[in-house]
Symmetry: C2
Subunit: 359 residues, 2 copies
């Protein structure tokens, strides 16, 4: 595979905090970053060598961007297929279009996971009211309806509890392709951040245990409170998924765990660095961001062991203003994404504690 | 003192690797960096929000730069006094002009250190041949002659070994102010990187042991092979110097140690982050770069303990091309400064090993 040597230029589509932290990790290894993002004054622009402010359907801008970089990557999974195609004509795109295709559509994602031998919640696609009733017959009424495309942070989904919710579902999906997912009984949510390099080497980070509040990640803890068997099984599943996709880069696999049954169900995959991997910056031997750069540049992958017990907490909205508190705590690592407006619920930064209970 | 909050803009004079690593550390805390440097395409430009390419005597450019930032700092001690004055008229300059004044002139530096109660090599200023002979009478002939200003990496200095070297000295100094330093018998070179915040809090990192090759730093090891008493004494001396200067920021104090006598002599001070502190990026609880940003922004200083035994090696010239070797080593942290031309002897990057002998 083509190695992209330190000193080369990496193109990143998306200028949010993930792009920013990718650019910082790339700089440590001597790479220059060129950020492509429609929004002026994006967080990643502050640490980039070059920026392009243009829309993802601007073919001329995309072509010029792709020609200016030695490899292109992205920080979000909703990169349009056409955008990916334009960029791949001119440069290496890692991860490739296949990862986007699978992760952008909940039905393709579930079909792919099932075909890879990985367990998911029971699911059935529907568009019309008739098909929804058929799906309910198959899955049962304790289920969640989700649009197939462009859902995130709980948007575009509704839990069905009673017969009257069926109308609400049809109101949300409006005949757009959707799926009905059976409800999964689980004790905890975990995620595995896994890297696969262009040469096919794979390395998974230790499993993180996530707590979501209002559908937004609140905290990640490492190690997760799961058995050694579950820990090992989760890593094997993530590795299998990365290999089946011939994936290049870092990806996150979100899973539900039923402790009693020792059962793991894959919820979704994110073909990018992920909020649930932020703990790796100080908490692991290699950060997920450096690992992604190593993987897409076909450098050797770094070691993934945790440096101890790690706790990561997102700072939303005005939480970011408590910097004096966090910077006074000798066990805390405070991260501020450089965003100016601390709107309620906006991801403004995070804090990571490594071995917080040690003396 | 004035606190400069995360989200503000930091101005950095100098665009080399030190400015680059300062900018990376500042970004983690949410600051935007504006780099002022005469050379286009400087390493720090790749990770900066704004850059100004102008000379250090360009008053209009300096004034505009100073007005655009919330605090200004520098990565090199040869910032001209007039430059510092222009910048301080418009913004906070940290560290201040006093640190530059003392460190730019070897005679002022030695006088200041002596007045602070810190031991230095015996020294005597000279300009003419007569004064040189007088200095030799006082110091002895085993001595080093150095120009008072603008010496670095062994430039502008000559060791006197025989009578014939006296002519060579006069040839080098050409009547410019110089000093003669008595030769110091030492077993090892150490340095203390110390931070003092705008509020006057002081924190010293563990002592590093340095090996120079051809007057350029080759390696730093932590802990240094010195007694606990020497370790403590060295930190006290560095703290005393920082306090005496009412210093704000990170500074490095280079010292010579005579093991047998348990004696420490201060060689020189650098009013900036320093190559001998690069080990702190992965090897200490806080990096010297983040510590400098915390100090000049008047944030709480971070903890300074080492994470174990640490070895740092500079990568000069083509050493930087061995990235596959270093990235394959699970104990190595490879840093590439983004410079394109690996000229012999040029500082291109460094590698840090943390606890390299652990399993």
């Amino acid at each position: 595979m083509t190695q992209v040597k330190p000193g080369s230029t990496i193109g990143i589509m998306g200028g949010g905090q993930l792009g920013r932290m990718l650019a910082l990790a790339a700089a440590k290894l001597g790479y220059r970053c060129h950020i492509f993002c429609p929004e002026a004054n994006s967080p990643a622009f502050h640490v980039a060598h070059e920026v392009t402010v243009a829309n993802y359907d601007d073919e001329a801008a995309l072509t010029a961007f792709a020609r200016a970089v030695d490899v292109a990557t992205y920080e979000f999974e909703n990169v349009p297929a056409r955008t990916a195609e334009i960029v791949s004509r001119e440069t290496l795109l890692r991860p490739g279009a296949r990862a986007l295709e699978v992760s952008q559509d909940r039905l393709h994602e579930k079909d792919f996971l099932t075909a890879s031998g990985v367990k998911t919640a029971p699911y059935k696609a529907f568009e019309s009211e008739d098909e929804l009733h058929e799906a309910i017959k198959l899955i049962g009424r304790t289920a969640v309806a989700k649009t197939r495309r462009f859902g995130y942070d709980g948007k575009g989904q509704l839990m069905i509890k009673s017969r009257s919710d069926i109308d609400k579902v049809l109101d949300i999906t409006k005949g757009a392709p959707a799926i009905l997912e059976g409800f999964v009984n689980f004790d905890r949510e975990i995620s595995v951040v896994v890297a696969r390099s262009a040469s096919g080497d794979v390395a998974a980070f230790p499993v993180g245990e996530n707590v979501h509040t209002n559908h937004i990640l609140d905290t990640t803890d490492v190690p997760a409170r799961v058995s050694e068997v579950v820990e090992a099984k989760a890593k094997v599943m993530a590795t299998r998924i990365a290999n089946a996709l011939e994936y290049v880069g870092v990806m996150a696999v979100e899973m539900f765990v039923n402790d009693g049954a020792g059962e793991i169900v894959v919820n979704e995959i994110a073909p990018r660095v992920h909020n649930s991997g932020h703990w790796t910056i100080e908490g692991a031997e290699t950060s997920q961001f450096e690992q992604h750069i190593r993987a897409i540049c076909d450098l050797p992958l770094g070691p993934t062991a945790a440096r101890g017990r790690v706790h990561m907490k997102n700072l939303l909205g005005k939480d970011i203003l408590d910097f004096d508190k966090y910077l006074s705590d000798p066990k805390a690592h405070y991260h501020h994404y450089g965003k100016q407006d601390p709107r309620p619920g906006r991801k403004m930064g995070h804090v990571t504690w490594v071995n917080p209970d040690d003396e």
